[in-house]
C-alpha cells in the first residue's frame, strides 16, 4: 500500500560536512596547480607593490560606472579622431613597400651626407651649370628618379582612400 506523497527530504549535508568537502576541493586544486599558483602570488606581490591592485580593485568594483565614464570620455571628437588617425597611419604603414623604399632611402641618405659635408656655401649654381650637371651621371640618375616619383604621386588614388567620402555615422 503506497499512498501518493509529495514531500522530499533533501539530502542536505550539515554545515561542517559541506565545509569540509569544500575545503578538500580547494586543497586539491591548490596542490594540483602548485607551480602556477606560487608564480601568480609573486606576480600579484609585484603588482601590489606598484599600486596596480588597488587601481584594478577600483576599476572592477564599479565596473559599469567606470566603463561608462571611460566610454563617454573617449566619445568626443578629438579622441575618436586621434584613434581614427592612428588607425589610418597604421593602415598606411602597412601599405608601404619597404623593399622598394630601401634603395630610395639609401640614396636619400647619401644625398644628405654630401649636402652635410658641403655645408653652407657661397657658391652659386647658374643655368648653364645646371644643364652641365645633367651630364653628371649621378645627378641625372637623381633627377630621373625624382621625376618618376612625381609622376606616381600625381596618379588618381581616390578609390583607395579611407578618409574621404561621407563619414559613416
Amino acid at each position: 500500500m503506497a499512498e501518493k506523497i509529495q514531500h522530499i527530504k533533501k539530502q542536505e549535508p550539515s554545515e561542517e560536512e559541506q565545509r569540509a568537502r569544500d575545503l578538500r576541493e580547494i586543497e586539491d586544486a591548490l596542490i594540483d596547480n602548485k607551480e602556477v599558483i606560487l608564480k601568480s602570488l609573486s606576480t600579484l606581490q609585484h603588482a601590489d607593490d606598484r599600486g596596480v591592485i588597488s587601481l584594478l580593485h577600483g576599476l572592477f568594483a564599479d565596473g559599469d560606472k567606470v566603463l561608462q565614464v571611460l566610454a563617454e570620455t573617449m566619445n568626443n571628437e578629438e579622441n575618436t579622431k586621434a584613434i581614427r588617425h592612428l588607425l589610418l597611419l597604421m593602415g598606411i604603414a602597412g601599405k608601404l613597400d619597404v623593399e622598394k623604399i630601401e634603395p630610395l632611402l639609401l640614396k636619400f641618405n647619401e644625398g644628405l651626407r654630401r649636402a652635410g659635408e658641403a655645408g653652407d656655401t657661397e657658391e652659386k649654381t647658374g643655368y648653364m651649370d645646371l644643364v652641365k650637371s645633367l651630364k653628371d651621371p649621378e645627378v641625372n640618375r637623381a633627377i630621373t628618379l625624382l621625376l618618376t616619383f612625381l609622376k606616381g604621386m600625381g596618379q588618381e588614388t581616390e578609390q583607395d582612400m579611407k578618409t574621404g567620402g561621407e563619414s559613416p555615422d
Binding site: M1, Q6, I8, K10, Q68, M74, R84, E166, S167, P168
Partner: protein, 981 residues
C-alpha cells in the same frame, strides 16, 4: 536529372541546369553575388535589390530572373557594382552597424557578410533611427531600428508557417513590420513559432534568450552601450576595420557557445535543429535548412519550450520512500534496493509478477534496453509503452491492410498531395510543423483540404469541406464514401487487380453503408458525403491524416482500417503524394514500439511467439525468453487490481495522469508491492513510487528518435546531466548489471548496432549513416538503403499484395440520459500533455496559464455560462472542476477539455476503462458528463495576450510591389542607367 544548357557568365561559357534562377546559376559558378533578402527556403523575395546583375545587357534581380539558353550574364561591370552599392546603401540606411556589441554577431549575420564581401567602406546615406520603439513578447523582440525591411519574416509567417500575423506596412512614411492590424506583439495572433527570428538576416527579430547573452560585450547597460557604439563608429576608418574587429569577436564567441544538433522532444513530427548553449544556459534553437522533416520550421514548444531542462524542480538524486516522505539517496543504495525487491518478487511470485513500461519520450536505444531488461534479464514479456494510449489502433489498421504500421510516405508527400483529408486530428495544434505544410500547399498551390472533426479548429476553418460527424461515427461515413466510389465505378480497378486481395468480398461487405444510413447515423448531409467522394475521385493523389479522434474509441482499430481500405479502393498507396498518415503524438511514439517495447513483439515487430525469432534473441542475449505474450498497459492495471502483478518499473510516462480512468489507475499504483518510476520530475505517477530515479532529458544524452515518417534521427548530447541524474539507457544498464547481466555499452551507438543486427527492419542502420542531419526511414535494408515512400514495389506480405479488411461499426459507450454533454479532449498548441515540461516555461504559462473547458455559445446561453464561470463536470467515473471558455470552436452540447492539467482539471478523472476492442487503447473520446455551475462570473482562463484572440491578416508574401510603387523608390538599375545617360 534536369536538362543542361549553355550560358555565358562574364564572357566565359558555362553549362547550367534548366529551371533554376539566375542567382542559383551564378552562385553555383562561384560568382560573388550578394543576396541579403534571398533565403533558399523562402525563395525570391525581391526586396533588397543587392543581387542585381546584368543579363543580356539589362540590370535585373538575379533571384527572380530565370535563365534561358544563351543568356549572357555580367556580375562585375561598373553598372552592376554601382547598382549593388545603391542597394546596400539603402539597407544600411535602415540598419546601424554596431556588430561587435550586437548579439547577432555570430559569423552568420547576412548584412555584415554582404558589406564585407562587397568591400563597402562607407555609406552614402547615413543611418537614421525610425520613429518606433522596440516591441517584444516573452520569446522574441523586434527592433525597428535594425530592421532592413527585407520581408523574410513576413514571407515565413504568411507562406511557410501560415499564421498570417506579420505584414510590412509599405504605405506609411517609414515602413515597418506590423502585427495583425498594427497591435503590440502580445496582443496579436502570433503563435511564437519562431520562424521570423529564425529567418531574420540580422538582429531585428531576435530570440530573447540571445539578448545580452551571446556577445562578450552585449550584456552591458544601454547607457554604456550607446557611447561605445558611437566610439566604434567615430573611430572607424571604414567598415573593413570595424568588421575585422567584430569578426574577431565573433570567433571568440565560438569558444563559449556550443551548437549541438538535437531532435525535438515534443510531438511526433521530428523537428531537428541546433541548440545553442552557453554553459547550461540555452540561448536559442537554430533550425537548419537541411533538417529533413522541418527545415526552417518550428513551433513554440520546439523553438522556445526548453526551460524545463534547467528547472529547479528537476530531480537530481534518487528518491526512496520512507514513511510519509521521499528521502534523497545515493545511486548505490537505490540500485541495491531495486535488485533486492525485483529478486524477492521474482522468487516469490515468478517473473510475470513484474512489469515494465517504456516511454515514447525516450530514445530507441532506451526502448530496446527496457524490453531487453524485461525479457532477457527478468524473463517476462510484460513490457509495453504509451503508444498503447494513442496510436496502437492505427498501427493495427495498417498491419491488417498494408503490412507496415507507419506513415506511408514523408512530410513531402503530404506537401505535394492534391487532396488532404484529416480525420479526428487537430493538426495545427497537435502537429504544428506538419500542419504548416498542408496550410501552405492549400494556400499557395491549390491543394484541397477536407476536415472531419467535432471541433471547428484552425484546419477546419481553412478547409474546402468541413464535416462534423457525431462522435465515434467516422467508420460509417468513411465506408459510405468508399461504397459510393465503388458504386460510381470510380474504384482504381487496375491497381486493385494488381496489388490487392479480397476486393470482391470487401465490396459486398459495404452493402449496409448507404448514403441514407450514413447521413442518418453521422449527421453529415448526403450532399457533403457525395462531395467528399467526388473530391477524392477528382484528386490525382490523396493523403489521409488521422489522430486520436479516430483511435481513442472502442472501434479505433476498425476505423483506422476503414481509412486504409478507402485508400486502397482508390489506389492511393505507393505513389508520391498518397498514403496513410497516422500522426504520431510523441517524439518517439513510433520508435518505442519499433524497438520492441510491446508485450507480443520484439524490435521490428517480430513476434515473441515465433520460435525462430525468439531463439535468435535468446542466443544473442544468452537468456531464456518466455514464449507467451505479456500484458499490455491496460491489462497490467487490471492485473494489479487482481493481485497478480506485484511490481512495476515505469519510465518517462505520467501514467497516473495520461491513462484513462485515473482514479482506477491510482488505486492500482497503491496496491503495488514495489513501484519504480524514472522521470525528470516528481510527477503524479512518481508520487506513488517506492523508488524514483532521476533521468536526463533529450538535451543531456545521445541516442535516436523515430518520427511519424518512420525517420530515424540522431540527437547529440548538448548538456551534462543535471546533478546526479542519468540518461535512461545508463540507468537501465545499471539496474541490469546490478542483477548481474554484465552489459557493457559505452555509447548508445553500440545498442543500436546490436538492435540492428537482430532486426531485419533496421538491418542497415548505423550511427555513421545518421550523422548530423542525415536520417533513415525504415525499413532500412542491409545495404543501407531506406524507404522514404512505402509500397512502391510491393506490400510486405508474402504474396506482396495488400488486403482489404472488412470492418463493422462499434457503437460508442452509452451513458445514462443525465450525462447530457459530449466531452472531447486533446491538445493545445502551446502545452504538451499534462504539462510538466511546458508549464516550466514562463512565457508559455503567461499566455496559457491553465486548462479550461470550451463550451459553445448555445450551451453558454442555455446554462448562463460566460468566460471564467467555474463548472464541475461529472462522469460516472469521476469529476473535474474547470473554468469555462465560450467559443465557436465547439457547437451545441459538445465541450472540449485540453488535457494539460494534472490537478482538479485532469480530464482522465472523467474517462472510463472502456477501450478499443482490438488493442486496449482507452476510449478517451467516449465520455459524457453532466455539468454543475460552481461559481459565476470569474475571469477568463485565457488572458488577453493569448494568440487565440488575435486578428490574422492573410496575404501572399510581403507584397513587394507596394514597395516598388512608393514615390521614393527607384530600381537601382534604373538609377545607374539614368546616370549613364
Amino acid at each position: 536529372m534536369a536538362d543542361k544548357m549553355a550560358v555565358k557568365i562574364n564572357g566565359k561559357e558555362v553549362t547550367v541546369d534548366e529551371n533554376v534562377s539566375a542567382l542559383n546559376v551564378l552562385t553555383d559558378d562561384e560568382q560573388q553575388v550578394p543576396s541579403v533578402c534571398y533565403h533558399p527556403s523562402l525563395g525570391a523575395i525581391e526586396t533588397c535589390d543587392t543581387c542585381i546583375v546584368e543579363k543580356n545587357g539589362e540590370l535585373v534581380r538575379a533571384c527572380s530572373s530565370g535563365v534561358s539558353r544563351g543568356d549572357e550574364f555580367n556580375t562585375v561591370s561598373k553598372d552592376v557594382k554601382d547598382a549593388q552599392k545603391i542597394a546596400i546603401d539603402r539597407i544600411l540606411y535602415n540598419h546601424e552597424l554596431y556588430c561587435t556589441v550586437c548579439d547577432y554577431n555570430n559569423g552568420n549575420c547576412e548584412i555584415h557578410n554582404a558589406v564585407k564581401e562587397m568591400k563597402i567602406e562607407h555609406q552614402s546615406v547615413p543611418f537614421e533611427p525610425k520613429p518606433y520603439d522596440k516591441d517584444r513578447n516573452s520569446f522574441y523582440r523586434y527592433d525597428p531600428d535594425q530592421c532592413i525591411l527585407c520581408g523574410r519574416c513576413v514571407e515565413a509567417c504568411q507562406d511557410v508557417q501560415v499564421t498570417e500575423t506579420l505584414t510590412i506596412d509599405w504605405e506609411r512614411e517609414q515602413p515597418r513590420v506590423i502585427w495583425d492590424n498594427d497591435v503590440p506583439i502580445e496582443e496579436s495572433s502570433c503563435v511564437s513559432c519562431g520562424h521570423c527570428s529564425t529567418v531574420c538576416p540580422c538582429n531585428a527579430m531576435m530570440e530573447t534568450g540571445m539578448e545580452g547573452e551571446a556577445g562578450y560585450m552585449t550584456g552591458m547597460n544601454e547607457d554604456t552601450l550607446r557611447p561605445l557604439i558611437d566610439i566604434t563608429k567615430g573611430v572607424e576608418t571604414g567598415y573593413s576595420s570595424i568588421l575585422a574587429v567584430s569578426d574577431m569577436e565573433a570567433s571568440m564567441r565560438d569558444s563559449r557557445i556550443d551548437k549541438t544538433k538535437t531532435v525535438c522532444t515534443y510531438c511526433g513530427v521530428g523537428c531537428s535543429f541546433d541548440v545553442w548553449t552557453k554553459g547550461r544556459d540555452i540561448l536559442k534553437i537554430e533550425p537548419q535548412q537541411e533538417a529533413p522533416a522541418n527545415g526552417i520550421s518550428t513551433c513554440v514548444k520546439g523553438k522556445f519550450g526548453w526551460d524545463f531542462v534547467n528547472s529547479e524542480e528537476r530531480l537530481t538524486k534518487p528518491l526512496i520512500r520512507e514513511g510519509q516522505m521521499f528521502r534523497e539517496a545515493e545511486w548505490t543504495e537505490a540500485l541495491e534496493l531495486i535488485k533486492q525487491k525485483f529478486t524477492d518478487i521474482k522468487e516469490e511470485h515468478g517473473a510475470d509478477a513484474l512489469s515494465f513500461i517504456s516511454s515514447s519520450k525516450c530514445t530507441n536505444e532506451e526502448s530496446y534496453l527496457m524490453q531487453k531488461l524485461a525479457r532477457g534479464v527478468i524473463g517476462t514479456n510484460n513490457i509495453d509503452n504509451c503508444s498503447r494510449y494513442c496510436q496502437s489502433p492505427a498501427t493495427m489498421g495498417l498491419f491488417r491492410t498494408v503490412g507496415y504500421g507507419g506513415d506511408s510516405g514523408s512530410i513531402t508527400d503530404i506537401e505535394q498531395s492534391e487532396l488532404i483529408i484529416t480525420v479526428g486530428s487537430n493538426t495545427s495544434e497537435s502537429h504544428p510543423v506538419l500542419s504548416t505544410r498542408v496550410k501552405s500547399s492549400h494556400k499557395l498551390h491549390g491543394q484541397k483540404l477536407i476536415v472531419s472533426d467535432l471541433r471547428k479548429h484552425e484546419m477546419a476553418q481553412r478547409s474546402d469541406l468541413f464535416i462534423r460527424p457525431e462522435s465515434g461515427t467516422d467508420l460509417i461515413w468513411l465506408s459510405a464514401v468508399t461504397k459510393y466510389i465503388v458504386d460510381q465505378g470510380w474504384a482504381a480497378e487496375s491497381f486493385l487487380e494488381q496489388n490487392v486481395n479480397g476486393v470482391e468480398h470487401y465490396k459486398e461487405t459495404l452493402a449496409p453503408y448507404t448514403m441514407e444510413y450514413a447521413s442518418e447515423m453521422t449527421g453529415v448531409s448526403q450532399e457533403d458525403l457525395i462531395r467528399t467522394a467526388e473530391m477524392i475521385h477528382e484528386a490525382g493523389s490523396v493523403c489521409i491524416l488521422w489522430a486520436m479522434g479516430v483511435t481513442q474509441h472502442q472501434g479505433g482499430s476498425d476505423t483506422s482500417t476503414a481509412i486504409s481500405n478507402l485508400l486502397l479502393i482508390t489506389g492511393n498507396y505507393g505513389r508520391p503524394g498518397t498514403g496513410a498518415y497516422p500522426l504520431r503524438g510523441h517524439n518517439n511514439v513510433q520508435g518505442a514500439s519499433d524497438f520492441g517495447s510491446m508485450p507480443d513483439r520484439f524490435p521490428g515487430y517480430q513476434f515473441v511467439s515465433n520460435d525462430e525469432v525468439r531463439s535468435r534473441f535468446e542466443e544473442a542475449w544468452q537468456a531464456d525468453i518466455p514464449k507467451e505474450k505479456g500484458l499490455n498497459n491496460h491489462e497490467m492495471v487490471e492485473a494489479i487490481h487482481e493481485g497478480k502483478l506485484k511490481s512495476m518499473y515505469l519510465k518517462g510516462e505520467d501514467m497516473g495522469i495520461v491513462d484513462s480512468n485515473i482514479n482506477y489507475v491510482h488505486g492500482a499504483f497503491e496496491k503495488l508491492d514495489f513501484f519504480v518510476v524514472q522521470d525528470l520530475f516528481l510527477t503524479t505517477t512518481a508520487q506513488f513510487a517506492d523508488v524514483v530515479l532521476p533521468a536526463s532529458p533529450s538535451l543531456e544524452k545521445d541516442g535516436t528518435f523515430t518520427n511519424t515518417e518512420r525517420r530515424i534521427q540522431r540527437l547529440y548530447q548538448a548538456l551534462e546531466p543535471l546533478g546526479d541524474s542519468r540518461p535512461d539507457w545508463k540507468i537501465i544498464m545499471d539496474i541490469a548489471n546490478q542483477l548481474d547481466a554484465g552489459w557493457k555499452y559505452d555509447h548508445p551507438s553500440e545498442i543500436m548496432a546490436e538492435a540492428a543486427s537482430l532486426t531485419p527492419l533496421f538491418a542497415g542502420v548505423t550511427y555513421e549513416k545518421l550523422e548530423g542531419y542525415k536520417s533513415l526511414q525504415w525499413p532500412v535494408h542491409a545495404d543501407g538503403t531506406d524507404e522514404p515512400m512505402l509500397f512502391a514495389e510491393r506490400f510486405p506480405f508474402e504474396d506482396g499484395r495488400a488486403r482489404l479488411y472488412p470492418v463493422e461499426w462499434t457503437e460508442p459507450v452509452q451513458y445514462e440520459e443525465e450525462y447530457d454533454l459530449q466531452v472531447n479532449n486533446g491538445r493545445l498548441l502551446e502545452h504538451f500533455h499534462e504539462g510538466n515540461m511546458t508549464y516550466q516555461s514562463e512565457g508559455i504559462t503567461r499566455g496559457t496559464p491553465r486548462a479550461f473547458v470550451e463550451v459553445s455559445p448555445q450551451l453558454a446561453k442555455e446554462r448562463s455560462l460566460s468566460d471564467g464561470t467555474v463548472v464541475r463536470l461529472i462522469s460516472p467515473y469521476g469529476a473535474v472542476k474547470l473554468p469555462c471558455l465560450v467559443t465557436e470552436r465547439v457547437q451545441k452540447k459538445e465541450v472540449y477539455i485540453p488535457l494539460n492539467d494534472d490537478g482538479d482539471g485532469a480530464v482522465n478523472r472523467l474517462t472510463s476503462s472502456y477501450a478499443d476492442k482490438d488493442t486496449d487503447t482507452p476510449a478517451y473520446k467516449e465520455v459524457r458528463v453532466k455539468m454543475e455551475v460552481l461559481e459565476e462570473g470569474g475571469t477568463s482562463p485565457l488572458p488577453k495576450i493569448n494568440h487565440r484572440f488575435g486578428n490574422p491578416q492573410p496575404q501572399v508574401g510581403v507584397q513587394v510591389e507596394k514597395k516598388w510603387q512608393r514615390s521614393d523608390y527607384t530600381f537601382p538599375g534604373d538609377v545607374v542607367k539614368g546616370e549613364d545617360r
